[in-house]
């Protein structure tokens, strides 16, 4: 059976690879795929093809541009021509509750939040007091690393593998001297600084290529 498996990975697992690469599988299915990938080199090779397709599909779609302002103008002209409607009640309880909170004035929201925060603070104080009695504080250090102006440097857009943990990503960022400056934007992309100063195009391309080889990186492109 193993010999057969090496030649042709299980079809049902193989069919899930695109969703695994895109990070849209359930935790259970993702674990199943991860285990199969670890055990089957041929499946892992095919997964690399999937990641390649994913990257180029994103590239292709991103080159399609955006609609002109005409689309929005047309839409709102049509909306203005619609009859005035009375406020409707959404059948979705969650949305209605969310809408209720969202519709509170900033002042009402601030008072409610302050009251809630006070309660939490009192609880936190009590808990902290108990913990501090038991454990001596180890002290702390302020973040003293030199700050860089937000717009300065060389940047890339990175989408991390869905199964990557925060710990994995932190280690990856540290190992490559990277820092996230923005994101995630729609599409799960993060803007990542790769150098404190602007880099020549070739140098930036070399860095992008190197980072692309890391398993945690699903998609990477240079950014302004």
């Amino acid at each position: 059976m193993n010999a057969t498996k090496n030649e042709a990975p299980e079809r049902d697992v193989e069919e899930l690879l695109p969703w695994h690469a895109a990070g849209t599988l359930s935790r259970r299915d993702a674990q199943r795929v991860e285990q199969a990938l670890a055990a089957d080199p041929e499946l892992a090779r095919r997964y690399a093809l999937v990641r390649e397709e994913l990257s180029e599909t994103i590239h292709l779609n991103e080159t399609l541009g955006a609609p002109s302002v005409r689309a929005m103008e047309t839409l709102f002209a049509k909306i203005d021509a619609e009859p005035v409607r009375r406020p409707a009640v959404s059948p979705n309880l969650g949305a209605r509750l969310a809408g209720f909170f969202a519709n509170l004035t900033p002042r009402q929201l601030a008072w409610s939040a302050s009251a809630a925060a006070l309660v939490i603070l009192l609880q936190a104080g009590l808990i902290a007091g108990i913990v501090l009695k038991e454990n001596q504080p180890a002290g702390y250090e302020t973040a003293s690393a030199p700050r860089t102006a937000p717009g300065a440097g060389a940047f890339t857009l990175i989408r991390f593998a869905p199964q990557a943990s925060f710990d994995d990503i932190n280690k990856f960022l540290e190992a490559n001297k990277l820092s996230i400056v923005a994101g995630p934007v729609p599409g799960g992309l993060y803007k990542v600084r790769v150098a404190q100063t602007a880099l020549p195009k070739d140098e930036l391309a070399r860095i992008v290529k190197k980072l692309q080889e890391n398993k945690l990186v699903v998609f990477i492109a240079t950014a302004q």
Binding site: E14, A22, E53, A71, T74, P87, A88, P186
Partner: protein
Amino acid sequence: MQTTSDEVLIARIAGGDRLAMQVLFARHHVRVYRFVLRLVRNEATAEDLISDVFLDVWRQAGKFEGRSAVSTWLLSIARFKALSALRRRPVEELGEETAEQIEDQTDDPETALAKKDKGAVLQKCLTALSAEHREVIDLVYYHEKSVEEVAGIVGIPEATVKTRMFYARKKLSELLKEQGIDRGWP
């Protein structure tokens, strides 16, 4: 900073909130446009269609029950509009070859390969897939839709979604092979 959720925006739109409509449009219109453009392959038509899509949202917001993500709902409406527009097109415009001539602005495969740019060839082959295959690949890879969501948008069973994606990828490999790139699969 926390942004207002799509569901809250829809609830506000249901109440006639024009500003909420603007926010929702700003948040989603580019992706909806790209999805439609890949189906209809005509920028002017795609622009007209996204206005229609969001007008439907304005009209139907009160009926949105939150059973799917708002982005999934938008793509379902967009797909319906795009297919309706394609059906209205004159017969001679429906051929894939004609459509590719209109849309295709990338290098031809030979030129791209000459540049040793595998990515460009892959993108070229992605545009050469049938509308059905392009659609499923875009929904999974670009719009990040789960099997269940794709099934809801396209209106097919989940098992068919997986099979369709598998065959779309298989076709892509075949197209790549024709262009001299053998991926060793299928």
